[in-house]
């Protein structure tokens, strides 16, 4: 399935001539990827600072005058929304999706390069609108990242006036950007693969990104629908979600709308969103593990099936976020069941990662450390998910720090570990230089141990019943005073982890100029992106001719072959051929 216009007619490539067309209004997927990545990391740093401010308040209440309850809620909201949408989704799909899809599939660029460029600029606009809410009267919204009505648009909630509107507008713009990018990713994967690159020869990274993009394309409309309807409730006085209510002693004009309807819509987007973030991470970590363990990925087909199954199932688990919402209790049983079922393909993936490592020739490189760290954090976060998936356990724990600890382990720390693994893994390809390994390892240990120092005690706070979202605990009889000491220690750990990200930033920037120039394919990887003529790949990726793929992406340590990896574009030898036929008979 070749896309002829791009694949075989390099003259049609929009060759950039000037600095502006090359680096700013660029239609090259690699430049767009780096623009996406840079913007996402920048806005992620803003969210990181916000989390530090939240932790300062929680760890040392009554110490910082500038953090009042309103500001605290605004920090919580903006931290959550930025991290989930504007950092993770944008970096995993806009950043790595853009960079890796054409290279790993053997294409010269995305199928619609102009739309791809537009996607980035629209994304940037959404980020600007979002950040603008810090500077409007009343500040950003403090409704919590889920933006539940009716409180999100009612007086008393910080940012109920301007903040919430900018948030909704920014989300709508983001969805437009994502849709333009997403259409490119799916069509490129389906239409622009080079000769020999069958679907089942694609690296798992591409499977993960592809499936996540399909999820995103079908799930983001739910967020758009809820954003539009809430905006109308706010601006036009409709009552889609707003019930009849009395606010500050005054009867409002809203009549009988349904806040739970919003929650259904939000989580119909929100749960697939978890997998929009997780699936690319699953894919990338699989490739990092196989490459650095010099071993083929265990159960490739099962891994692909699991990705597809998780993608499908992710649309029928959403209401496990809503056990305490007042929805029909019978729903709880259904959604608890589907939630436990989705754990099966997920567990298959974890077993397969471990079995990939088993008897592998493990190189503890920086990307590998992060990948192994991911297996730990994801297993812990996933296991607490099994607890919370059950209605009876979720009810008492739902509004406590147990949930905060759970989703940070599974959806915060785990994808971030993979992102770091991926950045370190592909850094030599993107820049042509090697990062500083010692700094990379220091960054890993601070991050890995630090996140455990933050989130393990947080589970315990949850068991104690410490409620989440609260600005300050106040005097509660059932929470011992020692909980506050734990909170203070969590804050110290969080600040250390936050500061240690400076090591990463320094390393990435310093190595751009001073890193050792690395040879081509320094990790001995098999997939196509490492087989380009130039490192970093030039515009158009491949020279005069596209590569031809002869094998899957996991021919590591093939018996009888001297080199411990065979790139995908190396033809099959005669011995391999006979070996392969025997294998088929067997």
């Amino acid at each position: 399935m070749q896309h002829v216009a791009i694949a075989d007619r390099p003259d049609e490539l929009h060759d950039p001539q000037t600095f502006i067309t090359k680096y700013i209004w660029s239609q090259d997927h690699k430049v767009i990827a780096i623009q996406y990545g840079g913007t996402a990391i920048f806005v992620g740093l803003v969210a990181l600072v916000l989390s530090g401010l939240m932790r300062l308040q929680l760890g040392f209440p009554d110490t910082f005058d500038f953090i009042d309850p309103n500001a605290y809620l605004q920090f919580v909201t903006m931290h959550g929304m930025i991290m989930v949408i504007y950092l993770l989704t944008a970096l995993l799909l806009g950043g790595f999706g853009n960079y890796l899809i054409p290279l790993m599939c053997g294409a010269r660029d995305m199928v619609f390069p102009f739309m791809n460029m537009l996607s980035y600029w629209v994304y940037l606009l959404s980020v600007i609108v979002l950040l603008a809410s810090f500077f409007v009267p009343g500040g950003p919204t403090g409704a919590g990242w889920t933006l539940y009505p009716p409180q999100a648009i009612l007086q008393g909630t910080p940012g109920y006036d301007w903040g919430i509107i900018l948030m909704l507008v920014s989300l709508a713009i983001f969805i437009v950007a994502f849709t333009m990018g997403g259409l490119n990713y799916v069509t490129t994967v389906l239409q622009a693969r080079t000769r020999g690159m069958t679907l089942m020869r694609m690296p798992l990274t591409i499977w993960g990104i592809f499936t996540a993009t399909v999820l995103g394309l079908l799930a983001f409309p739910a967020l758009l629908v809820s954003a539009i309807m809430m905006m109308l409730d706010k601006l036009a006085g409709t009552s889609f979600f707003m019930p009849a209510l009395v606010s500050l002693g005054e009867n409002l004009e809203y009549t009988g709308g349904s806040p739970v309807l919003f929650q259904h819509l939000f989580w119909f987007f929100g749960h697939p969103e978890v997998y929009i973030v997780a699936l690319p991470a699953f894919g990338m970590v699989s490739d990092v593990l196989a490459t650095h363990a010099r071993k083929n990925i265990f159960g490739y087909r099962m891994m692909v099936w699991a990705i597809v199954a998780i993608g499908g199932l992710s649309f029928i688990v959403w209401a496990h976020h809503m056990y305490v919402s007042g929805m029909h209790p019978a729903f709880g049983f259904f959604f608890a069941t589907t939630t436990l079922i989705i754990a099966v393909p997920t567990a298959i993936k974890v077993y397969n990662w471990i079995l990939t490592l088993w008897q592998g020739n493990i190189h503890l490189t920086v990307p590998m450390l992060f990948a192994i760290g991911f297996i730990f954090t994801f297993t812990h976060g996933g296991l607490t998910g099994l607890f919370l998936g059950n209605v009876t356990i979720d009810l008492p724990l739902s509004d406590t720090y147990f949930v905060v600890a759970h989703f940070h382990m599974v959806m915060g720390v785990s994808p971030i570990m993979v992102l770091f693994a991926a950045i370190y893994h592909w850094y030599p390809l993107m820049t042509g230089r090697m990062f500083n390994v010692a700094l990379g390892k220091a960054h890993f240990w601070f991050t890995f141990l630090g996140t455990y120092a933050i989130y393990l005690p947080m589970h315990y706070l949850g068991f104690l019943g410490v409620p989440r979202r609260y600005f300050a605990m106040g005097s509660t009889d059932f929470i011992p005073e020692s909980a506050q000491s734990l909170n203070a220690s969590i804050t110290v750990s969080a600040l250390i982890v936050g500061a240690s990200q400076l090591i990463f930033l320094y390393n990435v920037i310093w190595s751009l100029r001073n890193g050792e120039k690395c040879e081509r394919n320094p990790w001995g990887a098999t997939s196509l992106e490492w087989q380009t003529e130039h490192v970093p790949p030039h515009h158009g990726n491949w020279g005069a001719e596209l590569p031809t793929v002869h094998r899957w992406a996991y021919d590591f340590s093939v018996p009888g072959v001297e080199q411990d990896f065979i790139p995908q574009n190396h033809p099959v030898t005669a011995e391999e051929q006979t070996g392969g036929e025997e294998g088929e008979k067997a």
Binding site: R195, T198, V225, S239, F240, G256, G257, L261
Partner: protein, 227 residues
């Protein structure tokens, strides 16, 4: 099904490439990518309207919901205006199809006339819908006075915006072909536009049926969905 046989492949077993061709030999078609992208666009737009409709049915079960049809004083008990608008959009869709068929047969003048008619009737539909908004408001059916009204304005607006988007893409295609390419290549992109038009016409028929349904019909639909 081919997707299942694809997923059953064992990529670790070596298969040499068939001599001289790609593994997935498919007739090279520059429109293939655009056609695939269009399918995804239709799926996304479909999901969007599906979700709107689901929320409509859910919201209809709250006591303050007054359907726009069924009682003599409701505006769509006599839906002749909507029937007229529907007719206009149907003609637009038909003109698009005629234009496409003409372009395929290289009767380019007929194609341009058909295309112009399609644009004319599409804009006509949009104006007629706007006029209907004004008419409803003059009768006191404001957007915020009832959730059924809110849905009427919301759904027609979203549908209209999709038509406007279609018009912009169509304008882009026509200008590109006019200035950069041969008019003879019109049929390819026009086919995609025509599919989009027919799809939006189909969406409109569903919305039309929903918005003019009597409370009994709406209740039955909502009950079917479990609300």
């Amino acid at each position: 099904m081919s997707i299942f046989s694809t997923l059953r492949e064992k990529p670790w077993i070596q298969h040499p490439l068939p001599a001289g061709g790609s593994v997935d030999e498919e007739v090279a078609d520059p429109q293939a990518a655009a056609r695939l992208a269009l399918r995804f666009v239709l799926a996304i737009v479909g999901v969007l309207f599906f979700l709107f409709i689901i929320t409509f049915l859910s919201r209809s079960q709250y006591p303050d919901f007054e359907a726009l049809s069924g009682a003599p004083w409701q505006p769509f008990t006599d839906a002749s205006r909507l029937w007229f608008n529907t007719g206009v959009l149907a003609v637009a869709s038909l003109a698009m199809q005629i234009s496409l068929v003409s372009a395929r047969r290289q009767r380019l003048n007929a194609a341009v006339v058909g295309l112009s008619a399609a644009v004319f009737f599409t804009i006509g539909f949009l104006l007629a819908q706007y006029e209907l908004w004004l008419h409803l408001q003059s009768m006191g059916f404001y957007m915020n006075s009832n959730p059924a009204n809110s849905y009427f304005y919301l759904l027609t607006a979203v549908h209209g915006l999709h038509l406007v988007g279609g018009l912009l893409v169509l304008a882009h295609v026509v200008f590109r072909i006019w200035y950069d390419e041969e008019l003879a290549t019109l049929a390819g992109p026009l086919q995609l536009c025509a599919v989009y038009w027919h799809f939006l016409f189909g969406v409109w028929l569903v919305l039309f049926a929903l918005l003019t349904s009597t409370p009994e019909t709406i209740n039955a639909l909502a009950a079917l969905c479990g609300f």
